[in-house]
Symmetry: C2
Subunit: 386 residues, 2 copies
Amino acid sequence: MDLFSRIRDQVAIVGIGHLPFAKEIGRPISDTAIEASQLALDDAGLEAENVDGIVMYELEKTHEVTIARGLGVENLGWWDKITYGGGASCATILHAAAAIASGVATTVLCIRARNRGSKAARPWAQERELVTDDKALHVPWGLIRPVDVIGMWAHRHMLVHGTTREQLGNVAIAARRHANRNPHAMMHERKLDMETYLGGRVIGYPLTLYDCCLETDGALACVVTSAERARDLRQKPAYVHSGAQASGPNPTHLANYNTPNMETTAVPCARQLWERSDLKPKDMDCAQIYDAFTPLVILGLEDYGFCARGEGGPFTEGGRIELGGDLPLLTSGGGLSEAYAHGFNLILEGVRQIRGTSTAQVGGCTSVLVTGASGVATSALVMRGD
Amino acid sequence: MDLFSRIRDQVAIVGIGHLPFAKEIGRPISDTAIEASQLALDDAGLEAENVDGIVMYELEKTHEVTIARGLGVENLGWWDKITYGGGASCATILHAAAAIASGVATTVLCIRARNRGSKAARPWAQERELVTDDKALHVPWGLIRPVDVIGMWAHRHMLVHGTTREQLGNVAIAARRHANRNPHAMMHERKLDMETYLGGRVIGYPLTLYDCCLETDGALACVVTSAERARDLRQKPAYVHSGAQASGPNPTHLANYNTPNMETTAVPCARQLWERSDLKPKDMDCAQIYDAFTPLVILGLEDYGFCARGEGGPFTEGGRIELGGDLPLLTSGGGLSEAYAHGFNLILEGVRQIRGTSTAQVGGCTSVLVTGASGVATSALVMRGD
């Protein structure tokens, strides 16, 4: 029996909300999470008393019961946190869906609040405390920051497949052009052209400033409920058509850049995702591919089956990944140019595309792929409209 | 539609395993988690390659992918961590069940490894760093350790309901007598009588040494799969008949001892648990009620509906909660006398009772209640046999 049919198109995202993104949000993180959740409930036309679940990232610094109390939730009947940073993004929706499909919850908030505050939010700045587990295999050799490790992936892709800096630049520029249309994007007013891109200072060879995501405070939330309830609510539902989490056989924290055929953790995730889906990559009207760094997007195009291994670079050419192209990517500006909230903003943008309310709206969009961070144990989602 | 019917008796615990409990286990925590998981798989007659999910407590200090790699799991398709200390215990099984019932995973390991190592594992010993959130409401006033707060619950119960120290002692002595039958229990060889109990030194008034759980290192695991697969496996399945998580309307970290009618977070948990269950409290052949401190057991008897509010003390009298009595409690010795692993050992003991393999076996046992820590957002489980 295909038990995933209990989730497929039977659960929907019915509300979204977020606070203005900022370099420093300047308020307690719990307050921002509560306020974003209230916005998402308002958007759905639901009340706090309808909520009985909360799912968050494990790196989230808020407490479920503090949020519940602040909102006025009467009782939570489901909560969990999911590990592996941005790998958790789409998994929050999948866990909400599993709770709903198995009768444990009816209406679940998925939340991502990020507030770097006065302390460094970048954990590698405190590596002396953190060199444990897999990290002991690479941190002492200088692969310290995520950008160092993703740089190795990028360099290998360039060497083996001939990927060029201009192709990485196509990703950064597509994201920026979409951000320029999105008043909520941190980079809304800043243009980026190829000359500027190529002149960016090196952050971790071969990656430069514009290959790297922003550093952003923010608070975002989604409301997830059954398709049956969704039909009575205010917004056009974004149905959870497929979803998957995957670790792959030998995951290490980002640093498995020497896998056979350059396969990231997204490969087993994609396999599961499409197995559970009636839709295929060719059916996607746009894709929000996790973009902590530009090469992850090129790898993601390959991993999720939009092109063969090594063809991700050429795929980005000729406007193909921009609005009007075959597969617009990162239509809100993504982590590169809208805000870096460990991928949760990509989920909200997926919902907007299904609703038809994106500022870079793909005409007639009915199917969207959203992915979490690859390299770490990850997750992905296919949303569809009616 | 009763969606919980997708879980009820459709998912089962099919394997259990744990390492010998110790005051100091003396080995890396990941190694112990991997070894306990392997024991649970061996017990079930399954291989690592069958596993596609891991669920743990949020306070767990291990990484899912490290355990998966160490065991030889090919790919994880579900993982999460659940907050609120011992409140998470039964929720691990519930989340595994939801994953299985909704087709996201087929065979899930639930794990609890605790390794206090050379560092103090008692976080209140580092309170200067930890006075955040709700704790700011009570820690500065001297309610620092869990025992301080549970002492307030106990004292109120004594004042309002006339509960006696002897009644608390009945809980400690029942747990100890059961531990005396269990060769794995830390207190296997140590007897406890009422005179010794009453002479225990005060830890947090009115609670004394024998009202408090042990401090133990340990590693424990369960394997959860569908009832359909369970029928082909080695052990008699312990079916997940009902399960619930609950936060209640106004949860604060243990410190809500002034709730109306002394209701803990277990009250909404119990309501949901029994609503989802064909069985009722009177059908339970034994109960493993979370016992970080003896008063939690007396409150638990009331909260889970075995007796009315205030009658938990008298309920413990006349051998009623010991083997041979109406409702044997903590038949492995529990957190008080077997080991303190934030309640995960209570789940393993529930499975043994269903299998008929406990060292304090209740004759003809087919139904067991297991509960998580009350006071914090919590969880509970009803298991049944064939």
